[in-house]
């Protein structure tokens, strides 16, 4: 299968290792990765902050670039949620039926990385080896937005050598929320404080998630506190081998 990688501007710029990990796993599983180089940003930050007029050209641009691919895979649950759910909403509120039709066709071919591996390919064991104590934070967009279910945990549990510890009150938001983290920084930190406490309670070395944006928030506090816990995207754990 040809898999088009929707890297997201955020991962492209700040977390390139996540993209490299996705490429290596998909190729390891016998599929071909294509990277449409015209892609930039899906418009999530603009749209969710209220800058709809500015987001619309980015939405149309994304649809044009990706509509030709059979499977589109992204290591970001929130950007996938933007394309799958909010693009429809954006087309509706702007009364753009042509866009709405294109989005409907595109949306069902856009996968978050872990749901692509588990649900589309039907694989839990990707042949990874990671001898570390790991906990997993289900991000809001992966859990309640696009509903990836326990796909990430299935993948983690199949990793050899891993010491996987579930997180207490894992379903609760970490407080990132995009521009919420700076517009409501105090509340955001109050939420993050509890998340960090639960992570430290696991005694894990690594906190894993399916979204680097939330991880940047969590990791930003873990590093500020010199906690000795690091963050890693799920794909980076799965890419690790003996």
């Amino acid at each position: 299968m040809q898999v088009a990688l929707f890297i997201t501007c955020f991962n492209d710029t700040l977390f390139p290792n996540t993209g490299k990990a996705v490429v290596s796993i998909v190729e390891r599983l016998g599929h071909q990765v294509i990277f449409p180089e015209e892609q930039t940003c899906c418009g999530q930050m603009h749209f969710n902050t209220g800058y709809q007029a500015e987001a619309m050209p980015l939405i149309r641009r994304f649809v044009e670039i990706f509509s030709q691919y059979e499977a589109i895979v992204s290591p970001s649950a929130s950007c996938v949620g933007m394309v799958r759910d909010m693009y429809r909403f954006a087309a509706e509120v702007h009364h753009d039926t042509k866009l709405a039709n294109e989005v409907a066709l595109l949306a069902e071919r856009v996968y978050e990385f872990s749901e692509f591996i588990v649900n589309r390919l039907g694989i839990q064991d990707v042949g990874a080896y990671y001898p570390h104590r790991v906990t997993y934070h289900p991000t809001c967009h992966s859990l309640r937005g696009i509903k990836v279910g326990d796909a990430p945990e299935q993948l983690l549990r199949a990793v050899r050598g891993i010491d996987y510890v579930p997180l207490t009150q894992s379903n609760e938001c970490c407080g990132f929320g995009g521009t919420f983290a700076v517009k409501n920084a105090d509340t955001s930190m109050a939420m993050l404080g509890d998340k960090i406490r639960h992570i430290l309670d696991t005694r894990a070395e690594v906190c894993v998630a399916a979204d680097n944006s939330c991880l940047m928030h969590i990791g930003g506090a873990l590093h500020r506190q010199r906690s000795g816990v690091r963050i890693a995207h799920l794909a980076e754990i799965l890419a690790a081998q003996e």
């Binding site: 890297i7 501007c9 991962n11 492209d12 710029t13 700040l14 390139p16 290792n17 490299k20 490429v23 990277f35 180089e37 892609q39 930039t40 940003c41 418009g43 930050m45 603009h46 749209f47 969710n48 902050t49 209220g50 800058y51 709809q52 007029a53 500015e54 050209p57 980015l58 909403f89 509120v93 809001c140 309640r144 937005g145 379903n171 609760e172 938001c173 407080g175 990132f176 929320g177 995009g178 521009t179 919420f180 983290a181 700076v182 517009k183 409501n184 920084a185 105090d186 509340t187 955001s188 930190m189 939420m191 993050l192 940047m216 928030h217 990791g219 930003g220 506090a221 590093h223 500020r224």
Partner: protein, 480 residues
Amino acid sequence: MKKPESVIIELAPRFEVGAKAAVQNTQLRRNMGKATQTIRGKRAGVVDELADWESLRVAGQHIKDDVMQHLDTYLIQLEATVTQSGGHVHWAKDAHEANEIVTRLIKATGSTEIIKVKSLTTDEIRLNEALELAGITAIETDLAELIIQLAHEKSSHILVPAIHKNRSEIRALFQKSMNLPDLTDEPKELAAAARQFLRDKFMSVRVATSGANFAIAETGSVCVVESEGNGRMCLTMPEVLITVMGIEKILPRWQDLGVFMQLLPRSSTGERMNPYTSIWTGVHADDGPQEFHLVLLDNGRSDVLADAVGRQTLHCIRCSACINVCPVYERTGGHAYGSVYPGPIGAILTPQLVGTAHADSLPYASSLCGACYDVCPVRINIPEVLVHLRGKVVAEKQTQPQSWFDGENLGMKAMATTFAHRTTYELAQHAGQLAQWPFVHDGYIENGPGPLGKWTAMRDFPAIPAQSFRDWWRERQRDE
């Protein structure tokens, strides 16, 4: 542009300002954390018992969709059925009109005191304040409302208005205001003190006011759902009953109650069945109030109805499940929202009732985590409405000349232009990699400039790696 005078917003600070103070209040954090976690667990327990919960939610949503679609018809029908059964119907376009009607009706009875059933709608129109100006004393009979009234505070939760107070705080309040120096903080004793205080009023006051949870267009029946029985006293003992109801509270048929009597108690108090459900149809000789008035209140609701996306906000049955599950509300409490309606539902309802220009910080009082949408018994897509309202806030802001000097607006526009082309986007990536060097130490930025400073004031920011993913990809393609 609408003016906020008629409604809700106390000249409250912006959400983030109120929230900053609230998250530093250790007693509040402890009280709120404990209360919300407990009620969340209770709700989840009784909801999980029902195999058809999702079907019930869908049924609730469909009934409310139908109500909004034909609200005009159902309202006229309700007016007719209530009138036929001996009640009087009054129409109020805003808070001012509603307060005038209620004041006039009470004055006609000659009474200077009224007893009140807990009611958000009368809080919304600030009925108590209007009555006070007219020389009428309103006595709240719901325990938590009474606590708030005695403490001269504002409610911080729609169902449990005194959620921000613990029992030792309530004990101190009762000791002082009821002159009971020996009162302990035992819940039983506290409740008994309130009961003693209220009993006299139930026996003597001749006029009561209430809100309404539901009104049935088909039969003209009005329904109030409560837990203490104090509401039942107010609805049955006095001679005159005045009910103020938002126009969206209507249900078409008697049988529709069956859906909501399952959805509401499980979602709100985490109970399988509601303790005191009072339903009355007009007046009956020698039984209950002999005079019944129903005030139908608009107060911004028709404007909400006119908005195709925002309309679903009117589906709300005020259960408070979204408030209890909200991680933002849990930390800030209700007062930060500056409205009778706090939490996620408040963040979408308040700006629509008073106009986004007067509550422009509320649509941003959410991390869009979606927990509210998951628990909403009538499936209001709160995150979607929040994003929709943010769009309105920004669009309004952009019509103002000062937006040309607004950092966020300029930054967002600049970024949108950058993202419009691959070349400018890649140029910006490389510029970022170079420009960050004075601020990077050991792979992190701990004290960033400009807008980044708002992030790094509280957490570290990872340095931009020297090679972007796309540059790595191109290098790899070349090497192959």
